[in-house]
């Protein structure tokens, strides 16, 4: 089924390019740029499962990324687990957490759900900042011997990079798979009219909780990898509310509800931010420019870049979706 979609192959080619271009050029600077792009795509794609597919705005999506980082780093450094195993376990633990949490807060709708997710983010951050095994607000550091197990820091960071690219590809394929599945149809029904979906026999509570939990898995895995690479984690960078909001911005920019739009928005936004930040002319005004751009998109192109493209070239929809 999914193999017949051109976009599936597009995703694979894209991921392969992301992986091999910096490796071939042996360019770590490019790699460091691209890993942030990949993280942005992961966050935006998985956020899209909630906002784009189900219509539920999640302001606290970053909580999964941060918790994944903590669980993963704890297992990989304090418990000396294998990195891949640690990251997968982190994903699983965080997904279960999300499932339990979702059963509670997904009784709320609309803005109330959005607010609850902010509350969850703040509460979790505060809990971690007081949690001794995870180093309270000073967080955890990765000693160099943790990298030694992966053949030294240089090798370990390349490995981490490829893993992150893999997670990125999986995120997009997951988005695609859900979109073309029956489960996805149920989600769209919830987005369009939840009461009607209920009447039609969609068990909305279960659907919502499952997708909430699914949308937690890959960001948590990515968090584990990313903070391992980063060498340290503390509550303020793990649970950055701003990054959570930026995820929504990326999604809107690209076009919510679409697989490619989410990825495009994530990638472009990150590229733009890092360009503005390092450009001597704009570094003071990076927020103003990013904000202005977002405003223009919201006011004049509510469908995002992809929506704009589809209006321009209606045939593109067939190829891309």
């Amino acid at each position: 089924m999914i193999l017949r979609r051109p976009v599936f192959w597009l995703i694979l080619v894209f991921a392969a390019l992301m992986a091999f271009v910096p490796l071939h050029a042996n360019n770590v600077s490019m790699r460091e740029d691209l890993i942030l792009v990949a993280i942005a795509i992961i966050l935006a794609s998985n956020l899209n499962l909630m906002i784009g597919y189900t219509g539920y705005v999640n302001f606290g999506h970053i909580v999964f990324y941060g918790l994944g980082g903590y669980v993963g780093l704890y297992l990989a450094t304090v418990r000396s687990w294998n990195l891949v195993l640690a990251a997968l376990t982190a994903g699983l633990v965080v997904s279960l957490f999300a499932l339990a949490l979702g059963m509670g807060i997904l009784r709320l709708r609309g803005a109330y759900f959005a607010l609850a997710t902010i509350g969850v983010l703040q509460a979790v951050q505060s809990f971690v900042a007081n949690f001794d095994p995870w180093g309270r607000s000073t967080g955890m550091y990765v000693a160099f011997d943790a990298y030694e197990r992966l053949g030294g820091a240089r090798h370990a960071l390349w490995t981490t990079y490829f893993l992150v690219i893999g997670v990125m590809a999986l995120s997009m394929i997951l988005s695609l798979g859900i979109k073309i599945s029956k489960f996805g149809l149920g989600l769209f029904a919830i987005r369009e009219d939840e009461d009607a979906a209920l009447v039609l026999g969609v068990n909305t509570t279960v659907f919502k909780a499952i997708i909430y939990s699914v949308s937690a898995f890959l960001p948590a895995v990515a968090g584990a990898l990313m903070f391992y690479k980063n060498g340290m984690i503390d509550p303020s960078i793990a649970f950055e509310f701003m990054l959570s909001l930026e995820g929504i911005v990326m999604l809107m920019l690209g076009g919510k509800g679409t697989v490619v739009g989410a990825a495009l928005g994530g990638g472009l936004y990150e590229k733009l931010r890092s360009y503005l930040l390092t450009s001597p002319k704009f570094s003071n005004f990076q927020l103003v420019i990013a904000g202005g751009l977002l405003l223009l998109v919201v006011l004049f192109a509510p469908g995002g870049l992809i929506g704009w493209l589809y209006r321009l070239v209606p045939r593109a929809r067939k190829v891309i979706e």
């Binding site: 509350g119 509460a123 005004f285 904000g291 919201v298």
Partner: protein
């Protein structure tokens, strides 16, 4: 005087400022169904507004609230016409994002002007000493000002024509139009007042604590908590809920480390949301 009593009084004083900040958010949310994410940035602008005014006119800082409120009204109209008017009636996500975009722009411009270093308004009123505890004069004055502004808003909403028009639009926008009320003008007015309230709370905070252009974010979070506790569109309820939140903080801090406060506060917030989606103080409406 016992420590817990002192702590509760301190909590009550700061709680009224939380309440004032939340009133602005609650008004805008309740009347226009817009979750105003410029809230925190505007609070920060209120802080810097007070800073600039006080540097130019070193009089009693609390007198300067009036120009801050006036400037807040103008700013509110500006933001309304730039970012809010066009998304009224669209999905909630649209207004969330458009106000967030303005938030980014304000923070960006603010950072370019003032960097993110802390500023102070050097104005001190004499405190009141009871036993070993001294209650800061500025805290007392700020709490008083917050309550006065809160009551003034309540009077405005319940006793004046434009105030009633705001309530009518909040209650039923289409019916208000049928009464000859221009809902656009009323929405712009309500937004301006909400922004002015946020700015005035920022101005009050600036007399209490040092601040940076990023300081508004924390008060925005508290405003969310308070607004939800109070129920939407209940400005006076928000003031009361703010005071209660402050009292709660004051009552628990003697017994636990302050670093646990956010966990309790936001945990409570989520539980209340799930249990009472319309707010604890919301009256049942038919």
């Amino acid at each position: 005087m016992s420590g817990i009593l002192a702590s509760m009084i301190d909590g009550l004083l700061i709680g009224s400022v939380y309440g004032l900040a939340a009133m602005g958010l609650s008004l805008i949310w309740g009347v226009m169904d817009v979750i105003n994410l410029t809230h925190g940035a505007v609070i920060a602008l209120g802080m810097f507004g007070m800073y600039i005014l006080f540097a130019a006119f070193p009089v009693n800082a609390y007198l300067l609230l009036l120009p801050v409120i006036a400037a807040g009204l103008l700013l509110g109209l500006l933001i309304y016409w730039i970012a809010v008017h066009w998304v009224i009636g669209r999905s909630q996500l649209s207004s969330l994002l458009s106000t967030f975009a303005v938030n980014m722009m304000i923070i960006g411009i603010g950072t370019a002007i003032w960097s993110t270093s802390p500023y102070n308004v050097n104005f001190t009123l004499r405190g009141i000493t009871v036993g070993a505890y001294t209650f800061d004069g500025n805290h007392l004055a700020a709490a008083g000002a917050a309550v006065i502004i809160g009551l003034a808003l309540e009077l405005f909403l319940y006793r004046t024509r434009p105030g009633k028009a705001i309530r009518a639009v909040a209650d039923n926008r289409e019916a208000a139009e049928l009464m000859g009320i221009s809902s656009t003008m009323v929405l712009a007015l309500a937004f301006a007042i909400g922004i002015a309230l946020a700015a005035s709370s920022g101005a009050l905070v600036s007399t209490l604590f040092p601040f940076t252009i990023l300081s508004g974010a924390g008060y925005q979070m508290k405003s969310f908590v308070v607004t939800v506790l109070a129920g939407l569109g209940k400005p006076l309820g928000a003031l009361v809920a703010g005071v209660l939140l402050g009292l709660l903080e004051g009552a628990v801090t003697p017994f636990i480390a302050v670093s646990w406060i956010p966990l309790i506060e936001f945990g409570l917030f989520v539980v209340v949301l799930v249990a009472f989606p319309k707010g604890i103080f919301a009256r049942a409406t038919a």
